[in-house]
């Protein structure tokens, strides 16, 4: 299945774009879900206290998906000789590295400065 060759690039780009989108919130946040209102908003609206909080996770997922699809398309357009040189272990190494970065980003929840 030729399309499947794009999957490793998709996976790496999806997770990376998701983390970037989350870390740089609200820069790359495309839309917001307001669970109390059951409504979706473009961008990051200012929700009054009774209407908040907004949820951005769905938007970060969408950003990851878009970037992942673009990366997958780019991988398909890349010559097979170049693709063959890419170490397949990157498939697990990328999420491991991103997890280390994630834990550093989220450290303040656990009392670390």
């Amino acid at each position: 299945m030729r399309l499947a060759r794009a999957f490793p690039a998709f996976s790496a780009a999806f997770a990376t774009a998701y983390l970037i989108s989350m870390y740089f919130h609200p820069t790359f946040t495309l839309f917001t879900y307001a669970p109390r209102l059951h409504q979706w908003f473009a961008g990051v609206p200012q929700l009054p206290g009774r209407q908040g909080p907004g949820m951005f996770w769905y938007s970060w997922l969408a950003t990851g998906l878009l970037v992942g699809l673009l990366a997958g398309a780019a991988a398909l357009a890349t010559p097979a000789a170049i693709r063959a040189r890419v170490w397949p272990g990157l498939a697990w190494l990328v999420p491991v590295v991103l997890t280390a970065i994630l834990l550093y980003i989220e450290r303040t929840w656990f009392g670390f400065k």
């Binding site: 983390l19 997922l61 397949p88 697990w92 999420p95 994630l102 009392g111």
Partner: protein, 152 residues
């Protein structure tokens, strides 16, 4: 309805946990010789046969989690924030990100495990299975503990 979906989310997560643990054990601790013990039988499964079940279970569990997430956000999370329980709230943040990484990894996981299995991808297959297993275990334990603190 949300309670039903939440229970289904938990049940699917348990099934997923069992499947990925079986596969990870079979890949990382393969049985070399016939052994009738429980642990050997646990590891002696055919790892490749779990792939589609793991993907389907993951997608169902993930979708159910995404549906019940808003209820957590305006219920259990605010309760924990009011009590200044920042570690449990942060744990959920980590859980949602890890499980998103795992979601993105699924296409590659399927690609590496499609038949016929190529020997040059064996290391990558083992790595991806281990990463998925760790993410799923972390998410399950976090969700379980948080549900004990304040259920949806």
């Amino acid at each position: 309805m949300i309670t039903f979906l939440f229970v289904m989310h938990g049940l699917c997560a348990i099934a997923l946990l069992g499947a990925i643990t079986h596969q990870a054990a079979a890949v990382w601790l393969p049985v070399r010789a016939p052994d009738p013990s429980f642990t050997a039988r646990f590891r002696a499964v055919k790892a490749a046969s779990y792939v589609n079940a793991i993907i389907v279970l993951f997608l169902i569990t993930f979708t159910l989690g995404a549906i019940v997430y808003p209820t957590y956000r305006i219920g259990a999370r605010i309760y924990m924030e009011d009590l200044r329980m920042s570690a449990p709230v942060g744990s959920f943040e980590v859980k949602e990100h890890l499980i998103t990484f795992a979601l993105g990894l699924l296409p590659t996981y399927w690609y590496f495990w499609r038949a016929p299995l190529t020997p040059e991808l064996e290391g990558a297959r083992k790595g991806v299975v281990l990463v998925l297993a760790i993410f799923i275990w972390a998410a399950f334990l976090t969700g379980h503990v948080l549900n004990n603190i304040r259920g949806v």
